[in-house]
């Protein structure tokens, strides 16, 4: 197992690559979900205010 993680001495490079890719994917997914939540929230506020939204 530890041999697998050691990547024959290239652990830093291999896991550094996959680690950053994973981190970016997680952050992007979180941001896209957050944006959807915020957008729906704003639309609800607009609707509840019962007025035409200002451009």
């Amino acid at each position: 197992m530890s041999e697998f993680f050691a990547m024959n001495g290239y652990a830093f490079y291999v896991w550094g690559s996959y680690g950053l890719a994973l981190l970016i994917f997680i952050i992007e997914i979180a941001m896209v979900r957050h944006k959807r939540k915020i957008t729906l929230q704003q639309l609800r506020l607009m609707r509840d205010a019962g007025e035409e939204g200002q451009e």
Partner: protein, 245 residues
Amino acid sequence: MAINWFKYSAPSTFYGLAGKLVPWFAWSSAILFAAGLYISFFVAPTDATQSEAYRIIFIHVPVSILSMFIYLVMALYAALGLVFNTRLSSMMATALAPTGALFAFIALWTGALWGKPMWGAWWVWDARLTSELILLFLYLGFIALHSSIDDPRRADRAAALLAIVGSVNVPIIYFSVKWWNTLHQGATIKFTGTSMHVAMQQGLWLMMLACWAYVFAITLTRVRSIILERERNTQWVSDLMGERS
């Protein structure tokens, strides 16, 4: 043809369609990543000259190819929006840009982490690397230009122009390893066949498909928010919000 394709160019119709497609792409992506990573790390053999460090290619190659392809799709959408004045095309272009930029960044990062042990340098001003860096800047320029103009329709047109002009960079990246004597190696998988081990090919293809599915899922989710935001004063959005209550 029974299908009216123009129907889906209306943001209101596309919003619903995209919503149905997102879970499919998201789950496909998760399954393909699991299978792809398994083959990349446990099935594909150790490389004869690059040892285990070569395993970086299973993420590096798919994201690099997609960073170029996403740019072309983005520029095409932007151009369609510019020529036909279709709102949805411009929204798609805007939704693709952040993912394209992130993919270009991952391509450069994983390339640096591969270059250090193999070439002895994190970075060299090689034609392939430099043109990929320019691609990242083009994405960032597109995003910055679009967000700097308040009127969304004007922002679409200005950013579209940048995207179209910048698309000349994509063939430069692609052919750079042929046109110039680059440190970056040429393609191993060619139309004429490949010398690559079959498990390595399978790993690459699975990771490629996984990244494709990821891009679809993330872009469609992002474009749905953009559609709602930009169509917020329309009747269909108020109807939609009435239903959600």
